[in-house]
C-alpha cells in the first residue's frame, strides 16, 4: 500500500471515529453528486448542460506533412479547426418517493461529441445511473455507475470547470481509454485530410467513472467538513460490467474549511487525497490470437484549493503507474511507430498543476493554469533489452490563459489560449520522438456553456 493510499485510508478512519454525521446537504462533490437535500428534493428534477466549442490547433506537421493526435482536434482527430458540441448532457435526479429521503437517485446521459460517444459513433451514452441509500449514519451507500472520487480537476462537476480542455495528465491518465478487445495495429501520423483514422478505440473513455458500490459520508465539525469514500468497482469505465474478474479499489478523503456560501462554488479551503488501483487486460501482441495480458493500473494524487469571492488558488499533484497510453489506441509509442517503443504497460508518470483565478466582478473572470506532466519518467531501457541510455520520457508543459464572461449564473463564454511545449527529454530536436513532437503548438478554444 503506497503512502497516499495509507494517508487516504487513515484519514477516512479518523474521520469516521471523530466526526459527527452531517444530515444537511454538504457542498462537496462527493455529496453534491451522490445525495439530495433531506426532505427538500423533488421527485425528479430535470437538469443538464450544453457546451458548444470552437477550437483551432496551431501545431505544425512533421517533416513529411503528418500530424499526430496532439496536433488535431479530438475526438475525431481529422482536423486542426472545428466547431463542435463538446458536451450535451441531460439527466434526472431526486428522490423517487419524496417522503423518504433515505433513497435518492442520479441519472445522466451524454449526447455530445467526445470520447464518450465518438467510439462506435454512439447517439448517446449513459454516464451516470446510481442509487444512494442514506439509512446508516456515517456510511451512505451509493451503487451503480457514477464518477469515481479522485482528482479535483476531473471529479468536479464538469459544467463549472474553469477551462475548456483538461490538463495533459488528466486527459491522458484520468479520462481513461479502455483497451480494445483485440490487438489493434498502431497508426502512424497522418497527412490532412486524414486517410486512416487516428482514433481506433472501440470503447468509450471511462470519463472517470466506474460501476460499483461506494460507502461514503461527510462529517461536520464547526466550520470544517471532513469527507471520506471507499469504493469497489469493475474498473471498466462506462462499460457497465466487469471484463477481467478483478475489481478496482478507490479511496478518497477531503477536509474543507468553509468560509461562506454553499453549493458548487462554496468558499473555503479544501484539501484532499485520493488513490485508485486495479488491473487491466491488454492484448498487445500482434497476432490473430486473443491473448491479453494483465497489467496493474494505479493512480493517486493530492491537492488543495482555496476559493474566495475575489480569487482562486488550486494546486494538484498526481502519479500514475501502469497502463500509460502513449498513443491514440494502444499502449505503444504512437508518435514514432517504428520500434523501439516505450514501455507504457509498466510505465510511470507524474504531474502537477497550479491554477489561479481572479474574479474581477460578477461578469468577468481571468484564469491561468500551468501544468507539467512527465510521461514514462522511469523509461530508460527499450523493451527489447538494448539499453542505449535513452528512454521515451516525454515532458508536457502547458500554460493556459483564460477569460470567462458570465452572462448569468447559468451561462458563460470561455476563451482559452494554451501554449504547449512537448519534448522527449533524452532526445535532441528532430530526433526520435521529437520528430513528431517538435511541432506541437498553441491551441485557441472558445466555449459557450449553458446549464439548465
Amino acid at each position: 500500500m503506497n503512502t497516499l493510499k495509507k494517508a487516504a485510508l487513515a484519514a477516512a478512519c479518523t474521520t469516521l471515529l471523530s466526526g459527527t454525521v452531517s444530515t444537511a446537504l454538504a457542498a462537496n462533490w462527493l455529496m453534491l453528486q451522490g445525495t439530495e437535500a433531506a426532505d427538500a428534493a423533488p421527485r425528479a428534477k430535470v437538469w443538464g448542460f450544453i457546451q458548444t466549442k470552437y477550437q483551432k490547433d496551431f501545431s505544425d506537421a512533421n517533416a513529411s506533412g503528418g500530424y499526430i493526435p496532439p496536433k488535431l482536434v479530438g475526438p475525431d482527430l481529422n482536423s486542426q479547426e472545428s466547431f463542435s458540441v463538446n458536451r450535451a448532457r441531460i439527466g434526472l435526479r431526486g428522490t423517487g418517493m419524496p417522503l423518504d429521503s433515505n433513497v435518492n437517485y442520479f441519472l445522466l446521459v451524454e449526447f455530445g461529441n467526445n470520447g464518450i460517444t465518438q467510439p462506435g459513433n454512439a447517439f448517446a451514452k449513459v454516464t451516470d445511473a446510481s442509487i444512494t441509500l442514506n439509512h446508516i449514519p456515517g456510511a451512505r451507500i451509493r451503487a451503480g455507475l457514477f464518477k469515481t472520487p479522485g482528482s479535483e480537476e476531473v471529479y468536479q462537476g464538469i459544467a463549472i470547470f474553469d477551462y475548456i480542455n483538461f490538463t495533459n495528465f488528466a486527459n491522458q491518465q484520468l479520462i481513461e481509454r479502455s483497451p480494445n478487445d483485440t490487438y489493434t495495429a498502431n497508426v502512424s501520423s497522418q497527412t490532412l485530410p486524414v486517410g486512416t483514422s487516428l482514433n481506433t478505440f472501440t470503447k468509450s473513455v471511462s470519463a472517470a467513472r466506474d460501476t460499483g458500490v461506494q460507502v461514503f459520508d461527510t462529517f461536520k465539525s464547526n466550520n470544517w467538513e471532513h469527507s471520506y469514500s471507499i469504493m469497489k468497482g469493475n474498473g471498466n469505465g462506462l462499460n457497465l460490467s466487469d471484463n477481467d474478474g478483478k475489481q478496482d479499489t478507490y479511496l478518497y478523503w477531503s477536509s474543507e474549511l468553509i468560509t461562506s456560501g454553499a453549493g458548487p462554488r462554496r468558499k473555503g479551503l479544501k484539501m484532499y487525497a485520493w488513490s485508485q488501483s486495479g488491473k487491466r487486460l491488454l492484448d498487445n501482441t500482434n497476432d490473430a490470437t486473443h491473448n491479453p495480458t494483465e497489467y496493474d493500473r494505479k493512480r493517486s494524487g493530492l491537492g488543495a484549493k482555496y476559493l474566495s469571492n475575489k480569487f482562486r488558488v488550486a494546486v494538484e499533484f498526481a502519479k500514475a503507474k501502469g497502463m500509460i497510453w502513449l498513443g491514440p489506441h494502444q499502449a505503444t509509442f504512437d508518435m514514432n511507430p517504428a520500434a523501439p517503443v516505450g514501455n507504457g504497460e509498466n510505465g510511470e508518470a507524474s504531474a502537477w498543476q497550479l491554477d489561479l483565478g481572479w474574479y474581477i466582478n460578477s461578469k468577468w473572470e481571468l484564469d491561468a493554469r500551468y501544468d507539467v506532466y512527465n510521461r514514462l519518467e522511469n523509461d530508460t531501457v527499450f523493451p527489447g533489452g538494448a539499453n542505449i541510455g535513452k528512454g521515451f520520457e516525454t515532458e508536457w508543459k502547458t500554460l493556459t490563459l483564460g477569460v470567462q464572461y458570465h452572462l448569468n449564473k447559468k451561462s458563460r463564454l470561455t476563451l482559452n489560449y494554451a501554449m504547449r511545449d512537448v519534448t522527449a527529454v533524452d532526445w535532441s530536436a528532430g530526433a526520435g520522438p521529437n520528430a513528431e513532437l517538435d511541432g506541437v503548438g498553441d491551441v485557441l478554444s472558445m466555449q459557450l456553456t449553458h446549464i439548465f
Binding site: T23, A24, L25, A37, A38, D39, A40, A41, P42, R43, M97, P98, L99, D100, S101
Partner: protein, 148 residues
C-alpha cells in the same frame, strides 16, 4: 370559595397554555402590528426556501415581536417540517424569533400509511388537526394569508 376555585382554574390555564393550544391563545392575545399565515402545501423545494425567506423578511421588516407569523404545512408541503429537513437550522432560527410552525395531523396520518410509520416532525412544529382549518381559523382572527 367559588372565587378561590376560579382563581386556581385561571392560574392552571395560564401556566399550561404555552403547552396546549398555544397558537390560538397567542393569536387572540397578540398585540402585533401585523399577523400573517404562510401556507405551504406543495412539494417544491423552492417553495420551502421561499416560505422561510418570506417569514424572515417580514420579521425583519416589522421587527421581532411586532408581527405574528405562523407557517402552516399540509399535504406534500409537510416535508418542510420533517425532523431531518435540510432547512431545519433555518426553522430553528425562525422559531427563535417567534415564528410558529403548524403541522397538519391529517397529512401526518396519511403519510404514516405510506411510510409504514409516522414521520418524525421538527421539534418546533405544533400539530393541528387540519392545516386548512387552521388557516381558516387564523384568517378569522385577522391573519393575512400568503401562499408563496
Amino acid at each position: 370559595m367559588k372565587s378561590i376555585f376560579l382563581k386556581i382554574c385561571t392560574l392552571i390555564v395560564l401556566v399550561t397554555s404555552p403547552f396546549i393550544g398555544s397558537h390560538a391563545i397567542a393569536a387572540e392575545q397578540s398585540m402585533a402590528d401585523a399577523k400573517v399565515v404562510l401556507q405551504i402545501s406543495d412539494p417544491s423545494p423552492q417553495k420551502q426556501t421561499i416560505v422561510l425567506n418570506v417569514a424572515s423578511n417580514i420579521t425583519k421588516h416589522y421587527g421581532q415581536g411586532q408581527v405574528d407569523i405562523e407557517i402552516v404545512a399540509f399535504g406534500p408541503g409537510l416535508r418542510l417540517l420533517f425532523a431531518g429537513n435540510a432547512n431545519k437550522d433555518r426553522i430553528t432560527a425562525l422559531a427563535g424569533t417567534g415564528v410558529k410552525f403548524s403541522a397538519c395531523e391529517n397529512t401526518t396520518r396519511n403519510m404514516a400509511k405510506k411510510l409504514g410509520h409516522a414521520p418524525i416532525l421538527n421539534s418546533n412544529a405544533v400539530t393541528v388537526s387540519a392545516g386548512a382549518v387552521r388557516i381558516v381559523d387564523l384568517v378569522k382572527q385577522g391573519y393575512i394569508l400568503i401562499k408563496p
